[in-house]
């Protein structure tokens, strides 16, 4: 985005959050300037949305990231993608989103404008309408910059019925691309590594809608964010019935950059956050077709099959490159750097 020079040097003041004249000014000059649409600008206590004859999906998330601007995105893009993706993996078409900002006194106005711009760009890419918002300002030092909550609703297309209970032995497990890139990109920019890697932060709704429309083989999807691929797989394994998931280490798409940073800092890429990836469980006979559908679309180019479902008792088993087997579990304790 072109930075708006009129905002240079301006800062968020506590008064911007008092619900009075300055709040109104902020809303008009920063938020409405980008988010402008017929629903939002009615300026009601609640946005009025059309009736909906299909089941509705609804999800919420708060976004906190340090640094706020990172290679491949910023907290604004993250906040829209995060909610779009939760709707997408539940099978829904994302329609409407609300945004709630908590901003630290002294936050740079031009940074806020840039975040708002990237929210708007991302929402537009996804065909989302931002229908309602909220802004709170807190005293300097009482948060670290900015937190954003987004809550989204979407519509479930006819014929879509995803769920843990659909997952059956023989199903294939697909991931839409490289693992751990958000986690590593954010960590590397925090630690000041010079590294040529961007966060994978991206909206996945086009991918999910494409495979749901063109194949009956999709059983279940989830986006492996906090806790990474390993925790997400384990969560699904726990909730599903009488299955194990068998993952092939040699099929895992992990870039050399990610592997190297993990080695240096003592992390495991399987437990690092992804912000633009889908894990999909699909019927074996549809697997190839679904992979090619995903590879055709942006953000799905590196899609591959990483394993399959077997009868079992809720374990996630990783076949190592030398043919050994180890388990994957829920992340336990924050993923600390370790020197052990």
């Amino acid at each position: 985005m072109m930075k708006d020079d009129g905002l240079k040097g301006k800062r968020i003041l506590l008064s911007h959050g008092d619900g009075g004249a300055l709040t109104r000014k902020l809303i008009e000059e920063i938020f409405y300037k980008k988010f402008y649409n017929d629903i939002l600008i009615k300026d009601q206590d609640a946005a009025l949305l059309p009736a909906c004859d299909r089941p509705i999906a609804m999800t919420t998330d708060s976004f906190i990231v340090k640094p706020i601007f990172f290679p491949g995105g910023d907290i604004g893009k993250l906040a829209v993608c995060g909610t779009v993706n939760d709707l997408a993996v539940s099978g829904a078409e994302a329609k409407f989103i609300t945004t709630a900002f908590i901003i630290e006194e002294g936050f740079k106005m031009e940074d806020l404008a840039q975040i708002v711009d990237s929210m708007w760009q991302t929402a537009r890419e996804c065909g989302l309408t931002i229908v309602s918002g909220d802004t709170k300002v807190v005293e300097k030092g009482s948060i670290d910059g900015i937190f954003i909550n987004t809550t989204g609703i979407g519509v479930l297309p006819a014929g879509v019925n995803l769920g843990f209970q659909q997952i059956k032995p023989g199903d294939k497990i697909i991931i839409s691309g490289n693992i751990g890139e958000h986690g590593v990109a954010v960590m590397a920019s925090r630690e000041g590594f010079s590294i040529n890697l961007s966060s994978d932060c991206a909206p996945l709704n086009r991918i999910t809608q494409s495979i749901l429309k063109n194949s009956q083989g999709v059983k279940f999807m989830r986006d492996p964010t906090r806790g990474g691929v390993a925790s997400t797989l384990k969560e699904i394994a726990i909730s599903s019935h009488n299955v194990d998931f068998c993952i092939n280490e040699e099929n895992l798409p992990i870039s050399q950059e990610v592997n190297t940073v993990c080695q240096l800092l003592g992390y495991d890429p399987l437990y690092l956050a992804n912000e633009g990836k889908i894990l999909a469980f699909v019927a074996p006979e549809e697997c190839e077709k679904i992979i090619s559908l995903m590879k055709e679309l942006p953000y799905g180019e590196n899609t591959c099959c990483i394993g399959e479902v077997q009868e079992g008792k809720g374990d996630v088993l990783l076949k190592t490159i030398i043919g050994g087997t180890r388990k994957l579990n829920l992340l336990s304790g924050i993923s600390l750097p370790r020197i052990c």
Binding site: F193, I195, Q256, E257, T260, L264, I339, C340
Partner: protein, 73 residues
Amino acid sequence: MCLGVPVQVMHINKQDRAVVNINNIEVVVNTALVPDVSVGDFLMIHAGFAIEKVSLEAAEESIAVWREFIKHV
């Protein structure tokens, strides 16, 4: 407590600091424990410190022994 990573020296700074490279990622490490380091050397890094040089010849030799063994035994 003994995780280590092999890296290659790209540049030697004064006062026991060197820029090292691993898979195109560059980081600065402390070389106080390996004073006679040269550009191009491989180092084993632990907790931000080089703890020893890595001999590529020795590594090559270890593999050669195995290849021999696998081939002939």
